[in-house]
């Protein structure tokens, strides 16, 4: 397992290098002159040329590429017109907010999704099951940003219970977390329901009941243990959604994370910043996948 972990960790830089290269090619080939954009609309041709020379944009692409990679190795993402410097520190200071949001979304998913699935399975074809299943279908259809808006309209505007923007204490975490987690809760709830129903029919469950174990004990000690594997799978498969969805949710709630910064960068056409944050998302995604796979092996001894 350690060897696999190391091997996977070693693969991450290779993947990141490939992504960096693709992004470099894309953003160098799009129409529009970088130096003109950075110098601003009022700059004269001479000023533009100075900017071009200072940023090394007049050199051959291959040289620029090698320097770009060299810079990245030293933590230099390049020149960001927005911050007039290497944007890395400004990006990193926003990482904790995004981590907080995604982590609490995963936590909420586990706390709500698993019991909802168990509830539905325990009352199969009765009203708790119908309620949960209808909720699943609804949550999978509602866009996260609109759900967030409706939460704001209800809890911030009508009831004045929760702050609608920014990160300011635990209360401000509630609505962004719900908006981001909704889809995941639905997927996990549906998965748990299916797995529990399926597992309940198996011999080991009958044996457990036959030897006199109480229902909760059978459920939690035996059934849920086997259900953990698909649950981790669902969350793992949705890691990409979590990171992408956080961009939208962060913008809606003016959450000070890297997703919000990415959109600001896109709006300002700050391609250095766009590339930097995209790469950071890729690294986060790769690490999440690695974590899921390790977790997978931990809870499923057959894979060890």
């Amino acid at each position: 397992m350690i060897r696999l972990l190391l091997w996977r960790l070693a693969l991450i830089p290779v993947t990141v290098l490939a992504v960096v290269t693709v992004l470099f090619v894309i953003f160098k080939t799009i129409p529009g002159d970088e130096a003109t954009m950075i110098a601003g609309a009022t700059a004269t041709q001479a000023e533009i040329d100075v900017v071009r020379h200072q940023l090394g944009l007049d050199r051959p692409l291959l040289v620029q590429y090698v320097e770009h990679i060299e810079g990245l190795l030293h933590g230099d993402l390049g020149y960001s017109p927005t911050f007039r410097a290497n944007p890395l520190p400004r990006i990193l200071e926003r990482v904790p907010a995004t981590l907080l949001l995604t982590a609490s979304a995963i936590a909420l998913t586990v706390i709500v999704g698993i019991p909802a699935g168990i509830l539905a399975a325990s009352f199969q074809h009765h009203w708790p099951d119908f309620t949960v299943s209808a909720g699943v279908v609804a949550l999978l259809a509602v866009p996260n940003f609109w759900l967030g808006m409706m939460l704001i309209a209800l809890f911030s505007v009508q009831l004045e219970w929760l702050p609608s923007i920014g990160l300011s204490g635990p209360a401000s975490l509630v609505m962004p977390t719900i908006a981001l987690a909704a889809r995941l809760i639905a997927l996990v709830g549906r998965m748990v329901r299916g797995v529990v129903i399926e597992e309940q029919r198996k011999d080991y469950v009958r044996t457990a009941y036959a030897k006199g174990l109480a229902r909760p004990r059978v459920l939690y000690r035996h059934v849920l243990r086997n259900a953990l594997i698909p649950i981790v799978t669902v969350i793992g498969l949705q890691a990409g959604y979590l990171l992408g969805g956080s961009v939208v949710v962060e913008r809606l709630f003016a959450w000070p994370g890297i997703g919000d910064l990415l959109l600001t960068a896109v709006g300002l056409r700050d391609y250095t910043l766009v590339q930097g944050i995209t790469v950071l998302f890729v690294i986060g995604f790769l690490l999440m996948n690695l974590l899921v796979e390790m977790l997978y092996r931990l809870i499923n001894p057959r894979l060890r």
Partner: protein, 278 residues
């Protein structure tokens, strides 16, 4: 990536999913075709004396921040959202199926090359990829369709490839190869028809995702630009009036949800009906 893909579970109502999804889709299709004729007002006509009006007899769903009729905008906007979803899923479908067929059928270096590219693309969270693409191409309909298409191709190519690999082991494909049938004929006449149900189900569910991604980008100001009555963009501009006029944000959001619901029910219903693995 995770080692195994967990099976999807059948929920109940499976028998009803397909007809409900299909009739909802039909309704949206009719709105998309005849929307301009059905809408009570011009979706871009402003009425600065009646801004942010609550629902009334004149304006059933109220008016927006420059006095445009929301009902008319939602109806006319159907065409934009539906067209973007259908076109990008179609393009992703054609590209993904071709890549998947080639990779799965021929294997070897071609397979490795295609798999490498798709694996690489799947390391970028799809919405982040879409945002990066839009930022490179530009925030317009072309950029939007390209972004959604690109973010859907890899998973589809992978799905088709694995289906082809399954089929390739079967005797009748081997027989076709043994009698010297050309690759194109094997692929189009024998492999593709047996992969069709898997592909159609996936495309239907993807169309729902495309609606979500398209409207999310519109919401962020990276999709279809105003004054076009696109649902996501309408929701984006209604954000700042949530305090004073929350009803402005109701109708477009419900429209998006219903359209996604329609595609999801249709896809899930088809799966229940067609997929023998259930």
């Amino acid at each position: 990536m995770s080692a195994t893909v967990a099976p999807r579970r059948r929920t109940h109502g499976g028998g009803l999913f397909l007809p409900i999804g299909a009739s909802l889709l039909l309704m949206f299709l009719l709105l998309a075709v005849f929307g301009a004729a059905i809408a009570p007002y011009d979706p871009t006509a402003q009425d600065l004396l009646g801004i942010l009006d609550p629902p009334s007899m004149q304006h059933w769903l109220g008016t927006d921040e420059i006095g445009r009729d929301i009902l008319s905008r939602v109806i006319v906007g159907t065409r934009i959202t539906l067209a973007i979803a259908v076109i990008s899923v179609f393009l992703a479908g054609v590209t993904g199926v071709c890549l998947g067929l080639l990779a799965g059928h021929f294997g070897g270096a071609l397979d490795r090359a295609i798999s490498l590219v798709t694996d690489l693309m799947m390391t970028i969270p799809s919405l982040v990829l879409a945002i990066a693409v839009v930022s490179a191409i530009g925030a317009n309909t072309t950029g939007l369709v390209t972004a959604i298409t690109i973010s859907f191709v890899p998973s589809l190519a992978r799905l088709v490839r694995s289906r082809v690999l399954e089929l390739r082991e079967l005797d009748y494909i081997e027989a076709a190869r043994a009698i010297g049938m050309r690759h194109a004929r094997i692929l189009l006449r024998h492999v593709l028809p047996n992969a069709v149900s898997v592909i159609v189900i996936e495309l239907s569910l993807m169309a729902g995702q495309a609606v979500l991604v398209g409207t999310a980008l519109g919401f962020l100001g990276l999709g279809v630009q105003p004054p076009a009555p696109e649902w996501g963009a309408m929701l984006g501009s209604s954000r700042q009036y949530l305090e004073t006029a929350p009803y402005v944000a109701m109708a477009p959001g419900i429209a998006v949800s219903l359209l996604v619901l329609a595609f999801n029910l249709f896809g899930d219903g088809l799966r229940d009906r067609l997929d023998p693995n259930q």
